[in-house]
Symmetry: C2
Subunit: 193 residues, 2 copies
């Protein structure tokens, strides 16, 4: 069992940040981040998520036409913005990722199953990336307020990946946070059978 | 930053389990599990996930007609099986969950956005539940090999929730594990811009 400080760091007191101190994130930290998040479980180890790390001001300017207005300033001020995407053809890597069975054929022959699997597991992997960043002491600001089609045209015209959501990374300024919003009680969100 | 043992516990050496020792999980552990996972971030704090904890043999027998054959034995042997579901009408709780703005209207007037938001954020919350369980020393076995429509008819005819995926919980038997499957290298899954 993790100790209280670790549980606080990954979930209990961690917060979504939108004001950043300007402290940079090194490229080797992004490698370490992926090398943590990649171990999270996916269905048949399908690993559909793809991550685009926008490190420079110029790279993030390419996002601007897609962002909802409330997401512009915090994105431009973050150290790095991650486009959490997925590869719709993720199943082409299954002979390597899941050698026990012909898992490629399950998806290559069923476009609806492939799309559902890419979205569900690519999203899970984005969640692992959020937790992994927090575990490394990096603050996060996930966002879904943007136009996915604009992002896909701008960044993925060549490789065919699809955007899912965005995560700002950096050192957050805790003094800018509002009080935490409430969560649903156990009895509102859970059933015991 | 979490120490190596904690990173191993939540991601690096944690494994998906399918053979269980039979050690039970107490109801108070399920409460503690939800009370950790609930703090993970969702878009506008929308918190669409709903969790159904199937603790008894009888409750899990109701799942059987929906399970793919490979998922039957491990599910019946787990201490608890969780149906990770979402409430399509999650937005009705937004005046409580996100009091800063009229977020309910963003979704109540846009069924496609509501569905996309429920699926993405409900899936993220399922990922937080996997990590939270591991952080508590509970082993996990997530599964998507089942018929969602059958589960929805059997469990959610009254409340309208929708199933997303399943997670077995318990104490896994590490001696039953196969060697770990590979993951994609950084350069296969990530771009640096």
């Amino acid at each position: 069992m993790l100790d209280d400080a670790a549980l606080d760091t990954i979930l209990r007191t961690a917060r979504t940040h939108f004001t950043w101190t300007g402290k940079p994130i090194l490229d080797e930290q992004l490698h370490e981040l992926y090398d943590l998040a990649k171990f999270g479980p996916t269905s048949a180890n399908c690993s559909p998520a793809r991550f685009v790390f926008l490190r420079t001001h110029q790279a993030r300017e390419r996002l601007l036409p897609a962002l909802s207005s409330g997401n512009v300033a915090k994105t431009m001020a973050a150290a790095v913005t991650v486009i959490v995407a997925y590869d719709p053809n993720f199943f082409d890597r299954l002979p390597y990722l899941f050698p026990h069975a012909d898992a490629r054929s399950w998806f290559a022959s069923n476009a609806a199953l492939a799309e559902e699997t890419a979205l569900r597991n690519g999203t899970l992997q984005g969640g692992y990336l959020i937790i992994a960043a927090r575990a490394m002491g990096i603050d996060t600001g996930p966002m879904s307020g943007f136009d996915r089609e604009i992002v896909d045209r701008e960044f993925f015209a060549a490789n065919g990946w699809k955007s899912n959501f965005l995560i700002n990374l950096g050192e957050g300024d805790p003094s800018a946070l509002f009080p935490r919003t409430p969560r649903l009680d156990f009895d509102e969100a859970c059933l015991m059978l």
